[in-house]
């Protein structure tokens, strides 16, 4: 886990993803897209909640501007993580985007019921993935006005 002391000019994203390949790929694509992004990674649901609640080694973790959440995670499932975030008064205002390979209608419906901010399907082709990351950047990190509640330490 590596997180960097925050400067007010950059954006923090929490990527909750267990596959190291996907983590690396996402980092690479974000780096190519926007160099002002700090991508923090939690590799399972429990760690994600610890990061968000600044528990244990995450005491000084920043409050992320955006959460990218995979659904299939070890220890604590992504759906439970989503439910916990949205049930937490402190965390529920953080935009949470589901980013997963699942195209299941059940997962999509359930995620929105759990108040996911949007549901994105990870494309198979690299180029398509790059386009998707650009879209996330353009929309969630550029166009969307996010609440100014930063309590970063």
């Amino acid at each position: 886990m590596n997180h960097i002391e925050v400067e007010s000019s950059h954006l923090d994203i929490l990527l909750v993803e267990d596959s190291p390949g996907d983590v690396r790929l996402t980092k690479e694509v974000f780096r190519d897209t926007n160099i002002d992004i700090h991508l923090h990674v939690a590799s399972d649901g429990v760690e994600a909640m610890a990061f968000l609640r600044r528990e244990g080694e995450h005491v000084s973790a920043p409050r992320p501007d955006l959460i990218l959440l995979d659904l299939n995670l070890p220890k604590m499932d992504g759906r439970v993580v989503l439910a916990n975030i949205k049930a937490d008064a402190n965390l529920k205002s953080i935009p949470t985007v589901i980013l997963t390979t699942s195209e299941s209608e059940v997962d999509i419906a359930r995620s929105y019921r759990l108040q996911a901010n949007c549901y994105l399907s990870k494309p198979v082709q690299l180029e398509a993935f790059e386009n998707l990351v650009k879209s996330i950047n353009d929309f969630w990190l550029t166009k969307v006005k996010l609440p100014q509640q930063r309590q970063g330490g």
């Binding site: 596959s19 390949g21 996907d22 790929l25 390979t101 198979v124 690299l126 180029e127």
Partner: protein, 641 residues
Amino acid sequence: MPLERLYDLVHDPGNASAKVAEAPNSAEEALRDSEEKYRMLLDEIQDYAIFMLDPQGVVVSWNAGAERIKGYQADEIVGHNFSVFFPPEDIKQGMPEELLRITATNGRHEFQGMRVRKDGSRFLASIIFIALRDLAGNLRGFSEISRDLSESKESAAKYRGLLEAAPDAMVVVNQGGEIVLLNVQAEKQFGYRRDELIGQKVKNIIPQGFAERLIADGTRTAAEALAQQIGTGIELNGHRKDGSEFPIEIMLSPLESTEGILVTAAIRDISVRKAVEKHLGQMEGRYRGLLEAAPDAMVVVNEGGDIVLLNVQAEKQFGYHRDELVGQKVKNIIPQGFAERLIADGTRTAAEALAQQIGTGIELNGLRKDGSEFPIEIMLSPLESTEGILVTAAIRDITTRKKTDAHVLELNRSNEELGQFAYVASHDLQEPLRMVASFTELLARRYKGKLDSDADEFISFAVDGARRMQRLIQDLLAYSRVATKGNDLLRTSSEEALRRALMNLRGAIEESSALLTHDPLPTVMADERQLIQVFQNLIGNAIKYQNPGVPRIHISAARNADKKWTFSVKDNGLGIDPQYFEKIFVIFQRLHKRDEFSGTGIGLAICKRIVERHGGTISVESQLGHGSTFTFDLAGSEGKS
């Protein structure tokens, strides 16, 4: 007056008539005298024919009874030979002369015989002949005292009445086998007039088996022999006047009479009964034939659950010999579910209960002699019979079918598993492959020209391979989804589906400047998403496999004989060699090299799978170089859209 008294009167006139006082002077005178005296007496007797003959048999006297019984006036017959009273056949045999000879020898002869009246009709008579001799013992003549047996007593008239009233033919026969009496039914049945039969041998109308029964054998009397027959119907053959035969049943009963034992035979024409029996026999024969010809085991059971009939297939199936099963409970071979169906419960009769079972196969278990069980299907049908309702059960050994069913079930299951497996496998393969493809691509992008030329080439092969594999897996997933992710078939406008397909193909259509036309298309029962895919794949192919020039594609639909809609997608493209017509629908089969046309060979396989899921077929007609027409059919919904 009893016959014996008359005999005395004639034979011993002195004793018989004490009132006659005058003594005769000579034997001749005495005879004449007594003749004179007694004639007056005898003349008045009505019930008996009493007359005298001279030694040659010429009638010399005639009484009132003779006149009444035989029908001759005295002056008509006196002076004629008495042989006129005999039937011609008796005369031929010399019976009249023989009678006189016997009487002359014995002095007296008593017998029963047929007599002929003046009008030719016959009657059975009881006759006593007496030789008349003078005191010197010279034969002076004969007297005959006879009685018509058929009317001899008042009771005879009653008997006759009874006889006529009987519904059967009745024939009374004496121990000599001669018919002495018969009724009108007998006349009708045998086709004779009464007088043609009276006095005839009964053998003439019942050639065999009757007369024999009248004759006493060495060890028993006729009465005893008869007694044994009484009340038992004997089946014989009757013989009509016209020579035809017919089956009869006779019942014998003896009748004690003054003439000895007479036998009354009630004769019933049983042709109809015999015909019915024969018919029934044939029916049973046919039924049995049918039973044996049936491919299934057939068992006929009565309402008590006893087996009454079975065929050879039943013997084979259950491993019993026929004799071991007939009369046994059907429960022995079908332990459960059959016998219960035969028993009527409180609210319905057995027939009703059965009626509900008819034509429906009931699956039960059969039990073989060796104790092994096997699955059977039985079909019941009731059979009205004289013994009540019988149930015919057709029993089919369904061991093989059960095995086949299980096999089919297993096949379906494994097919489904395989489909599921293909889906899961390709889905899960996609993840690691995404890593391989993405990172080789990143590698190619960031390090092209920074390593050596071999590295560039290797990386480009890796990128190409990974991309191809991604396409294959995506196609495989799409193919799996036809079965695993299909939607219900609903009323779908095929024209709208075509429109959506063309929208998806917009890029390719614009690029190729293809000319697309279509007829009005119907509303069909389909999974719309899949129908779009079929159109898209077929039209996509038509655009792709083209000669230089403008692609022309026409889509049409026509109702076929099965009331389904046959869709056609016709193009003017490359065409297909007929030898590949089947191959092109098989998954991953391609006719072109990758550098000629891209693709994995999944499009038509998906089309085939979709059309088959819709209960239709897909095929192609084509000639190399002359375009292709792909046709597929779908079940219609009413009307055209």
